[in-house]
Symmetry: D2
Subunit: 414 residues, 4 copies
């Protein structure tokens, strides 16, 4: 019995799907301890948008470590943090005219969501936060309470309260006007819905099954929040950092959220880092009111700065993501209907899902793809969707190779 089986908790999960011991990685490829190579259409669940061990970032990282740059900085001022803040301001915020303060809430996505929820409740003096069906925001109690998945929720061991779910876009296959239920509850003071402090939303629900909100739905949500004095939080942890094309996933809709959570690919190198951004006027935090040991993960600031400088000073990345995405879409919609069992494709930028009518099929496809050398994850409550999340920096050849394998896996599991 391996040490993983003997010593590691039953909670481990990906290692069951992909029974290999990985050793090293480069770009869109991982290699296991036996030297076998795998193409990666998973990208650290969206944390490796620039590929594994991206050489540009790697160089900056090693240089920083070599010269004994500050590693652990809490929320002390450091030269690495300053470089990041200035670059983030120059490359990301200012060009998009985004009026945000930057908070380092701790280096994980759920830390960022907790901070966002705390701030929203403090600002508005209300407890309820609205989330959406099939949302995923994290595993600590605050984030879990606005997460849809019943299996994850049951892990809390206490009732999860102060949240209320609303239907995400397309939840009723577009037969029901958007926000009919939500707005009716808000305008009816006898509805039983306590006025929420905030709404938290993903523009594309990655864990929830690659559910894509339309731009007009997001705009209507932005408008509804404004009219009812509710803060809009966009959780851009998985869909930000270029995954859908623009740096933030909400840019395409032309909206400005009140609060934004960013993590996963923000460090660019897979290093733990996250941000909570919010309108300047919302910055009512007292010094030290929220803290955390690893807020100042300076090596991550270094790679984050390098990633912004390398990829976001012009629009090449965004264009390439679109081009890649179109190719994926073409491939998925071109799948043989019989072979794919009428699977439905949906996505935006370079995140795509293929939903099978038969709930067991997606797992079979991923399993077969793994055997063929491709890492692919399922998503959705019933694991009914194959999720495609290749590095944004993948080469056209590798993208083609991966799609071919996926095609074979679909074909061989029918």
């Amino acid at each position: 019995m391996s040490v993983f089986e003997r010593l590691e908790s039953n909670v481990r999960s990906y290692c069951r799907t992909w029974p290999a011991v990985f050793d090293c990685a480069q770009g869109a490829r991982l290699t296991d301890e036996n030297g076998r190579s795998y193409l990666d259409f998973f990208a650290g669940a969206g944390s490796l948008n620039y590929g594994h061990n991206n050489p540009v970032l790697k160089r900056a990282l090693i240089e920083y470590i070599e010269r004994d740059g500050i590693t652990h900085g809490l929320d002390m001022a450091t030269t690495a943090k300053r470089a990041f803040l200035e670059t983030f301001e120059d490359v990301v915020l200012r060009p998009r005219d985004l009026p945000y303060k930057v908070m380092f809430p701790g280096p994980t996505g759920t830390n960022a969501v907790e901070a966002a929820l705390k701030l929203a409740r403090k600002v508005k003096g209300r407890e309820c936060v609205v989330s959406f069906t099939n949302s995923f925001h994290g595993m600590s109690l605050g984030a879990l309470a606005v997460t849809g998945n019943a299996f994850k929720r049951a892990g809390a061991g206490i009732p999860l309260v102060h949240g209320a779910p609303m239907p995400f876009d397309h939840y009723f296959d577009d037969t029901i006007p958007d926000f009919l239920w939500f707005e009716r509850l808000l305008e009816d003071r006898g509805s039983g819905l306590d006025v929420p402090a905030a709404v938290i939303v993903e523009t594309v629900q990655g864990e929830g099954g690659v559910n894509v909100a339309r731009a007009e739905w997001l705009r209507a949500l932005r408008d509804l929040c404004r009219r009812y004095d509710i803060l809009l939080i966009v959780d851009d942890i998985q869909m930000g950092c270029g995954r859908t094309g623009g740096f933030f996933s909400f840019e395409a809709a032309g909206i400005v959220p009140d609060i934004v959570t960013v993590s996963k690919s923000i460090s660019g190198y897979g290093l733990p880092m996250s941000l909570c951004l919010f309108r300047t006027g919302l910055d009512i935090w007292q010094p030290g009111e929220h803290n955390g040991t690893f807020r100042g993960n300076n090596p991550a600031f270094v790679t984050a700065t390098a990633a912004l400088s390398a990829y976001w000073t012009d629009d090449r990345m965004e264009k390439q993501t679109r081009t890649h995405g179109e190719r994926v879409e073409e491939f998925l919609t071109g799948l043989d209907e019989t072979a794919a069992g009428n699977a439905k494709a949906r996505g935006r930028g370079l995140v795509w899902g293929l939903e099978f009518a038969d709930d067991t099929r997606a797992a079979k496809v991923c399993s077969r793809a793994f055997a063929l050398g491709l890492l692919l994850e399922t998503s959705g409550t019933r694991s009914e969707v194959v999720k495609l999340l290749p590095p944004l920096t993948i080469s056209p050849d590798e993208l083609g190779e991966g799609l071919d394998i996926l095609g074979r896996a679909v074909d061989e599991t029918r």
Copy 2:
């Protein structure tokens, strides 16, 4: 106005105490961007027990990055993780006969605490968790609910429930028998205290003011939990990894907690990493029931393995910590009573606190020490305690130098 003031949230805190922009660091010293050097009696709030950028760990880290070892691994099996698990088993668990499974709950302390609380509630089917006066366990909602500090609690924006505080050791200056109140509530089924799923405790409360629990108090707590079928969680995030002498802070008391949280110095290099350890029989997690993007921060596994191998295969580290600690104790208790305003010293291993009768004095001492080139933090609810937390690997000379500065700072602030 600097980018920190302009762009970073008001929540930032340490950068206000130490108004410098730090650039690099080595061992027990940091250097700011102007080349000024500071001795470090803070050690990343306990995350840098082996000093800044420890050369042994640094070599391993750079080597790993150079060879493109897996950086981001979720909970996939990797060679780096295997090496860590095997080393942790060989060097830490087996020699101490600790019957634990290892969970990677996400790389921060609060992630580990959230996982511990979730598991305890799941196992026992109860909601209440008992914590202690002046406890500190983290900033996400689950951890915050068992944290004592009213200022931090108010940040939640919702009422924090399912927790109940009990008096920590010495809370009544030893005039009251230990656990009198707690046990009376448990044995009286009319007391109004719902039987707790777990008790969560720090053996030394770092943030709470360097409050040290006696070994016999911890043993009595262990016994009480056993008698009432309550799980005992030791939060060893700040006090573990050798801070008090032994690897775990509870070893000296001869107790075996049911659940242990470990973070801060576990990676050895200040990289985000945490563990939740629990008795094998408690491992009722379903695969994937708790997850998180940065659970598999493999560079941290690499430095963690190197740290365990370099420092914990014999008892030199433990002995040195004791020696350093005795020297600190001697110094603190030898402070001129008039100069120090009858400040009281307390501590264990290499964590020490100096509590001033005048609540404003500790901040003045730290501020003066900073001016003299020493980083020192206050702790306690009223910031009434100067906390000494030097790297365990500090040299005798540096330790002496730091104590001298502290002596001057005390003297110059009377």
Copy 3:
């Protein structure tokens, strides 16, 4: 200043609407201390279905008091309680084939709702209870949490949790399929709705604006609860005891709820009394697990028994209620459209509402009606509905007289 203004809390409400000091009452008429008489279309908010001081019940009550029958009995066995239970079984339960145990949960409606919710949660081991938009179930914390009205909810002083509102019948003017949202949330394990222990519903929402659920909607709700293993609680506090025709308001739909709350008119005389009925198999209460000082209000048992014997051993009461109701409906729908500002009438049995487009109109109508000698209450979140709730035993002449006054009040307020 009167003693009411000087000494009674600001919370008092009806005495503001009807500024008179009432002294005595008989049937459908009250008389104030100046001898002025008022016709009563309010009936103690549904507590006086048999009219004020009904002579049949009055005789039984005085007789019982005269002979020193037990007044206060907690849950002791008494001859008065036995008579009630036997009569309730013979006259109500057995003819309708209702398989219920009877609990005396305390003499108010909110006591009954609290007991129902406690039992449902105990039985199912779940916390969430679904209620409906514009529901009203009571003012104690458990009942308030499933009540829709935001103004009432705010009185709690704590966040009200463990409830989730769903759309009542006609909430979207029948443009949306019934239970579309509710069932979708239940079947989608990623929806974020925790599986509820129970659904609590009024068949006609009295306080919520006289909203009438269709029989087929109630049947579909019954069916949905069965399919998802959720208990169905009908709160028949205001609509039971013959108000809609049959003894229970759910009879017409042909459904059998799992739990039923009964209060208001159950004693028949306006004396505090309530029941919680539930399927035999749900009776998992431990002796004394729920208690209350006034559960055994024996004078109320006496009048309740007399009321059942006098009015429910044949179908005359039910028929008369229907006849009265048809007359009210005819009158309301025949109101001059211009005069009534296109007010909409709705109701069932002898509970009717007249909703005005102009929110301020209903209060004006009630105020004018009072000046003309008729007690009429508004209902609905915005007090936009005039509610007609005459005693069921009202004479045809009095009913006509009241409707005439209402007609004048409508006419004179346009």
Copy 4:
């Protein structure tokens, strides 16, 4: 099988202790359907301080019913309510200089407690309410959350939150200074206790085992609440209305609570009625913010007025209660030590408890007393206390007779 066993819920309790079917009652005696007479040392759990069917009140009640006085009045102004308010002001409030507004919160004790808690939380804008070990305040969710009994709490079916228990007087047999723990938690902003909105206390805990708080303890509590800006709620439901001597049980301590709940014997006749009294400045209720169907139980106002007029315009009642109490005390302390197994007596006014060392003994004593014709209840979490609660109006002969029976029951159960 009787209708009680067949039809009534398992939750029934007293009818198991006293297996008789009671029919009528007068003064301190009940008669069952077989004509057997029982002396009553239970008094409706404190609801029958003036005895069963007190002739003075009975006359007023029948007169009122005969003349068709308003029975059910919600919160309408009535002549009966006015008479009560004026009498209550003249006889109770003014002579004691109590600056209270009067709220009719619904006719049960738990309604009054719910109203008190809601108001306290509204006024202070805080959620937490401190209660005491072995407290009993009611069965609806708000009241249950501040009740100590674990068995009753478990009935809630949800976690009970927003409450914190503190030690009642004598909880540590006077070895610990009063309020040591409570005040320490309040003054320590790191204690983990959220500042409470209110403290709720019984001066003598009836259900909790006849635990008597000393006057100086109550004064210290009053003082502590004032110093920390916490509202003091005295729950005088069981101990008010003369049970301990004065009309309110807190009078003897010379304190003025901010809020007082009154119920049980306030109507004097065992009819459901309750009051919530509070300082005028706390009356921030909006009209109708708290309501309830049976707030205006006018027959209860009539008997309440008659009781106040008959018994509280001079000090005879108070003196007689003291005299009776002294006799009971003398009897209990004079019990043969061997026979009584060193039972300990405690009490105040005419409420007394006899605590047996052997937990099973009290039930045996009560059971034997019942066989000998005396109703006696146990109290305390383990039912370890025999509780003596005779009507205040009991005759010296009947009191002697009851004590004799108790003596025999003790003797015959050793």
